[in-house]
Amino acid sequence: MGCAHLPETRYSELSQRLKAQAAASRIPISGDVELTARCNLRCVHCFINQPVGDKVVRGQELSFTEWARLIDKVVAAGCLWLLISGGEPLVRPDFLDIYSYAKERGLLITLFTNGTLLTPEIADHLARWRPFSVEVTIYGHTRKTYEAVTGVPGSFDRCRRGIQLLLERHLPVTLKTMLLTLNAPELEDMIAWAQGLGVQFRFDSMVGPRLDGSTQPCGYRLPAEQVVALDLSDKERSREWRKLFRNNRSELATMELFQCGAGRSGFYIDASGVLSLCIMVREPGIPLTRNSFKAGWEGVLLEARQQQRPEESPCVTCAWLKLCSQCPGWGLAEQGSLEGVSEYVCRTTQLRAAVFDANHHP
């Protein structure tokens, strides 16, 4: 018998250990739940947003009771990290009920929000039932740019107020942005904004089509050359990319289609309760209103996760697969098949390799 005690364990060590065990034993330790596809903003680049007042979309959403039942199921299956996203989750009047229920079950919750619907009451509640992290998306540094993206007058001020409400309560906030043609000139200002607030900041520039197939968001995407130029313009980002290229060369052909944690330790549940591999790969989908989580995870999702790449796929022998955003989700979004290759994603990675890989041979 080892003596009974509380070992001194740092969160980062525990997290690494748990993630490794979950991947090895295929435990669904990390889940994303989309409480709604509706949003109070109308961002030009969004892949999912539905009008906040859309009654049909709202009618398809799970109720609090149904979410509570699902939360019990994912907790029983071993989920620890739960990401609550949308749409904008705060458009649901019962958001705090669902959030608190998940907290009471011992989940570590990350909340994705645009921040515009935060009130002192909601922020107080979050301070009492502290989230693991709150990630607020900002769409620009100036009102003009921010609202050119969101399409909603007044949203910039409401977002700033929301961030302030969180920070006043010392909540763990991260700011982030989707970098678009509209807001890219304000990147450095957004970084400075976050630094001034003393919070972390990150950005993503890989804009894809909407879930319904519309390519409208792609009209706001930065050219691959500009994405790489932005990496290059910042010393720290450049150093990070060089290090990644030095340490992540794929030497062997990789046949496994899914390289990420989807279906291995991660899962996705949409607003109507359909379980799938990830936010972008929603087929096969298992309606959890009619099927158990366990059966879906151990059956359909396992099979989906085990799919192999076709031998002729250029990704099979690509040295940069581990560093590339290319994935079945992008294939599906841009080419209509899981095995498809997004030319935009591929070109961005090839350009990065040309710039950051010391051993690059075209």
């Binding site: 018998m1 080892g2 003596c3 009974a4 005690h5 509380l6 070992p7 364990t9 740092r10 969160y11 525990l14 250990r17 748990l18 065990q21 979950a22 034993s25 435990i27 330790i29 907790v75 071993g78 620890l80 907290k103 009471e104 079950r105 011992g106 570590l108 009492r128 039932w129 502290r130 693991f132 010392h170 763990p172």
Partner: protein, 99 residues
């Protein structure tokens, strides 16, 4: 030998601490107030995890020690010594309170 008075004590769990058993890990996750720092997720070893399960506000410390001694094949004295130490640590983090 532990003080008899202590062995007769009963402890109850803080309902704001949730016990999770995931993979090979036993975790105590504070759900209110205490999680000001991410390091405040507590990891219990298997014996401590079992003790947590046995703390119910009804059993005396002595009962829990006897149960642990039987399950883990150690002497009741050794079990009691470890148990007292763990209960002290759990009290410190607000995980249990004496009733």
């Amino acid at each position: 030998m532990q003080n008899n008075d202590y062995l007769e004590k009963r402890f109850s769990k803080n309902p704001d601490m949730v016990f999770r058993q995931i993979a090979d890990e036993c975790l105590l996750v504070p759900i209110r107030h205490l999680t000001a720092d991410l390091d405040y997720i507590y990891v219990l070893n298997p014996v401590a995890g079992r003790i947590w399960e046995l703390i119910d506000g009804q059993r005396q410390v002595r009962d829990i020690a006897d149960q642990i001694a039987a399950e883990f094949e150690v002497s009741p004295q050794e079990a009691a010594k470890d148990l007292v130490e763990l209960l002290g640590q759990l009290q410190e983090i607000g995980g249990v309170k004496e009733i």
